[in-house]
C-alpha cells in the first residue's frame, strides 16, 4: 500500500467514490454537458486554490483572495463601463491583484508578520475599499466583448475551463519541475534551512503571494464575465473554499508538502458535491449536513498520517 500513500491517492479515491455514487443515483450526472458544467463551476475556486497552494506550500495562508477578487473586478468593470477595452481592463485587474498580493507578501516576508493576520487585515481592508469604490452597488452593462471570457466555449469546452487548465499546467510545471518550485517547497519545509542554503526566501514569499493575488484577479474576471456584473460582495467567503480544496487535496497547512494535482482533485470534490446535491434535489435543510459528512468521509480515505508514529 505504500504506493497508495506515496502518490497520495486518498483524495482521488474520495473523488472517484463520489462520482461513482452520483453516477449511480443520478441519471444526469454522467452527461457530457453536466460534467462540463461541473468543470465550469469549479473553475473559479480552482484558480483561487492553485494560487492558495503556492502560498500554503510556504506554510502561509491567504485569506484575502475573495476580497482581492472583488476589488480587482470592481475596478476592471468600472473601467470597462468607462470605455476602456476589456483586454486593457483585464490586464490592469491582474496587475491590481498582483499589487494586492505583493502587499501581503511584503508584510509577511519583510515585516515578518503572521500570514493569517496580515491577510485577514487586507481581506477586511480590500473589502472595505471595494464597498467604498462601488458604493455597495453592482456594476453592470459591461461590454459584450467581455462576455466570451466567462461564457464562451472553444471546441465545446467553456473558456473558463481552458483558462483553468492552462493555469494549472503552468503552475504544475513551475512547482514540480523548476528550480523556483523546488525553492518554494524548501521554504515551506524549513524557511531557515532554505535561507541558509542560499534561497532568497523573502523574495519568493512576495512572489508567492503575488501569484495568489493575480490568480484571484483572474478568477474575478471570469466570475464577472459569467455574471456580466461585478458585485461588491463577490468572492465573500471564497478563501475558505479555496483553502478547503487545497487541504482536501492533501497539502499540509504546515507547508512544504502537497501537490497541485491534489488541489485540483480537492476543488473537484467540492464542485461535485454541490452539483450532486442539486441534481439529487437534496433538501436545502439537509445540504449542509450531507456536505459536512461527505467532507469527513473524503478525508478519512486519506488517512496519510496514520502511520506517523
Amino acid at each position: 500500500m505504500s504506493w497508495f500513500r506515496r502518490y497520495r491517492l486518498g483524495p482521488l479515491l474520495g473523488l472517484v467514490l463520489l462520482v461513482f455514487i452520483l453516477g449511480v443515483t443520478s441519471g444526469q450526472f454522467f452527461t457530457v454537458s453536466n460534467l462540463l458544467d461541473v468543470a465550469l463551476q469549479t473553475s473559479v475556486n480552482a484558480l483561487l486554490a492553485i494560487g492558495m497552494t503556492f502560498v500554503i506550500l510556504t506554510s502561509g495562508i491567504d485569506l484575502s483572495v475573495g476580497s482581492t477578487l472583488a476589488f480587482s473586478s470592481a475596478l476592471a468593470a468600472q473601467w470597462m463601463v468607462a470605455g476602456i477595452s476589456p483586454w486593457m481592463a483585464g490586464i490592469a485587474a491582474l496587475c491590481i491583484g498582483g499589487l494586492a498580493g505583493a502587499l501581503n507578501g511584503v508584510m509577511v516576508a519583510y515585516a515578518r508578520l503572521a500570514p493569517f493576520i496580515v491577510t485577514l487585515g487586507t481581506m477586511t481592508l480590500f473589502r472595505g475599499l471595494t464597498e467604498i469604490y462601488t458604493n455597495g452597488q453592482p456594476i453592470f452593462n459591461l461590454p459584450n466583448s467581455f462576455n466570451g471570457l466567462g461564457n464562451g466555449a472553444i471546441l465545446g469546452i467553456p473558456v473558463p475551463v481552458w483558462i483553468t487548465v492552462v493555469v494549472f499546467l503552468i503552475a504544475w510545471a513551475v512547482l514540480s519541475r523548476t528550480v523556483a518550485g523546488r525553492r518554494i517547497y524548501a521554504i515551506g519545509g524549513n524557511e531557515k534551512v532554505a535561507y541558509l542554503a542560499g534561497v532568497r526566501a523573502k523574495r519568493y514569499l512576495v512572489v508567492v503571494y503575488m501569484v495568489s493575488g493575480i490568480l484571484a484577479a483572474l478568477a474575478g474576471l471570469v466570475l464577472t464575465s459569467r455574471l456580466a456584473t461585478a458585485e461588491p460582495t463577490a468572492g465573500n467567503g471564497y478563501e475558505l473554499d479555496a483553502i478547503t480544496a487545497v487541504v482536501l487535496g492533501g497539502t499540509s497547512l504546515m507547508g512544504g508538502e502537497g501537490t497541485l494535482v491534489g488541489t485540483i482533485i480537492g476543488a473537484l470534490i467540492l464542485g461535485v458535491i454541490d452539483n450532486g446535491l442539486n441534481l439529487l434535489n437534496v433538501s436545502s435543510f439537509y445540504q449542509d449536513a450531507v456536505k459536512g459528512l461527505v467532507i469527513l468521509i473524503a478525508i478519512m480515505l486519506d488517512r496519510k498520517k496514520s502511520e506517523g508514529r
Binding site: 443520478s26 444526469q28 452527461t31 454537458s33 453536466n34 458544467d37 465550469l40 463551476q41 464597498e131 458604493n135 455597495g136 452597488q137 453592482p138 453592470f140 461564457n151 466570475l223 459569467r226 455574471l227 456580466a228 456584473t229 458585485e231 460582495t233 463577490a234 465573500n236 454541490d274 452539483n275 446535491l277 442539486n278 441534481l279 439529487l280 434535489n281 433538501s283 436545502s284 435543510f285 445540504q287
Partner: protein, 302 residues
C-alpha cells in the same frame, strides 16, 4: 397583522419640512441587517438622503446579518444617546431584546422591512413577505399557463424572508394542480451561487418552465444560467425591484418582479424617526406596498 386602523401607505405619507432649529440636534441611528445586498444598500441610501435633506445626523451600522452584532450595535447607539433608532433587524425574534433596551432608555424605535416580535416599536414600515411570495406564485402560474415544472431558489435558510416567501409561494402554488415544484434549492440570496445552482438544476430538470427566485440577485444569477444553457421560454420571477431586474423585465428577459421600495422605506423611516424625536405622533404601522413589475409596467427599480 396589516390593515389596522393606524396603517397608512408610503405614497400617502406627508413630507416634513426640513431645517427647523431643533432638527439640527437630532441624531438618528440606523442599524441595518446587512449591506451585502443591493436591497439594503438602497434602504440605507434612502435613510442617508432623507437625513441630509432634513439636516439631521445619522449613523449607519452594518450588522453583517448577525443578530448578536446588531444587538451590540443598538447598545452602542443607546450609549450615544441617539434621538431615535431605525432598526432593520437581521431577525425578528432576537432583536426584541435590543428594542427592549431602547425602550428602557426611552429611545423610540422604527423598524424597517422586518419588525420584532416583542418590545415597543413606535412604527413599523415594511412590505409583507408572505404576500410577496403569493404574488410571485400568481405570476409564475400565469407565466407557465398553469401547468408544468417549476423551481424555487431559496434564500438563506433560517431567515424570515426565506421562510415567509416560501410560505406564501407554497400556499398559492398548491392551488394550481398542474404545476409541480420539481426542485427547491438554496442559493443563499447570492447571485453567483444562483448561477451555479440553476445550472445544476437545469441538468437535472431540463424541462422546467418557470423559476421563482426569492430575491432579484438570485433571479439574475438564474437568468445567466438559463441564457448560458441556450434554453428559451423559462420564465423567471423574482422579488425586490432591483434596477437590473426591473430592466430585464421590461426587456422581456425576466417575466416579472415583485418590487419592494427599500429607498422609500428608508426615507420614510427617517421622517418618522425625526417626528418621534420631536415627540410627534406617527402611524404604528406603514404598509410599504409591493409593486408588481411586468413587461409593460412603468416602474424604476432601486
Amino acid at each position: 397583522g396589516c390593515g389596522t386602523s393606524t396603517t397608512s401607505n408610503v405614497g400617502s405619507a406627508t413630507k416634513l419640512n426640513s431645517g427647523t432649529a431643533s432638527t439640527k440636534q437630532i441624531r438618528i441611528g440606523f442599524a441595518v441587517s446587512t449591506l451585502n445586498n443591493p436591497f439594503f444598500v438602497a434602504m440605507s441610501n434612502g435613510v442617508q438622503q432623507e437625513a441630509k435633506k432634513l439636516g439631521v445626523q445619522v449613523t449607519v451600522l452594518n450588522g453583517n446579518n448577525d443578530p448578536a452584532t446588531q444587538l451590540n450595535q443598538v447598545e452602542d447607539l443607546i450609549q450615544q444617546h441617539v434621538s431615535a433608532i431605525i432598526l432593520n433587524p437581521a431577525d425578528s425574534q432576537s432583536l426584541s431584546t435590543a428594542v427592549a433596551q431602547a425602550n428602557r432608555a426611552h429611545i423610540p424605535v422604527v423598524t424597517l422591512d422586518r419588525s420584532v416580535t416583542k418590545g415597543d416599536v413606535s412604527c413599523f414600515i415594511a412590505s409583507n413577505s408572505v404576500e410577496a411570495g403569493k404574488m410571485a406564485a400568481d405570476e409564475l402560474i400565469k407565466a407557465v399557463g398553469g401547468k408544468g415544472q417549476v423551481v424555487e431558489l431559496q434564500g438563506v435558510i433560517g431567515t424570515s424572508a426565506e421562510a415567509d416567501r416560501e410560505k406564501g409561494f407554497d400556499q398559492e402554488i398548491e392551488k394550481s394542480h398542474g404545476i409541480t415544484v420539481v426542485a427547491r434549492q438554496t442559493a443563499n440570496f447570492d447571485r453567483s451561487q444562483a448561477l451555479n445552482v440553476m445550472q445544476n438544476i437545469l441538468q437535472a430538470h431540463p424541462n422546467i418552465q418557470g423559476v421563482f427566485a426569492q430575491n432579484d440577485e438570485m433571479a439574475l444569477g438564474a437568468l445567466k444560467a438559463i441564457q448560458a444553457s441556450g434554453k428559451r421560454n423559462i420564465k423567471v420571477v423574482g422579488i425586490d425591484g432591483e434596477k437590473e431586474a426591473v430592466s430585464d423585465v421590461h426587456q422581456g428577459v425576466m417575466y416579472a418582479d415583485v418590487a419592494q421600495q427599500p429607498t422609500q422605506e428608508g426615507v420614510l423611516g427617517v421622517e418618522y424617526a425625526v417626528k418621534l424625536a420631536k415627540g410627534e405622533k406617527v402611524p404604528k404601522q406603514v404598509n410599504s406596498p409591493l409593486h408588481l413589475v411586468e413587461k409593460n409596467t412603468a416602474f424604476k427599480g432601486f
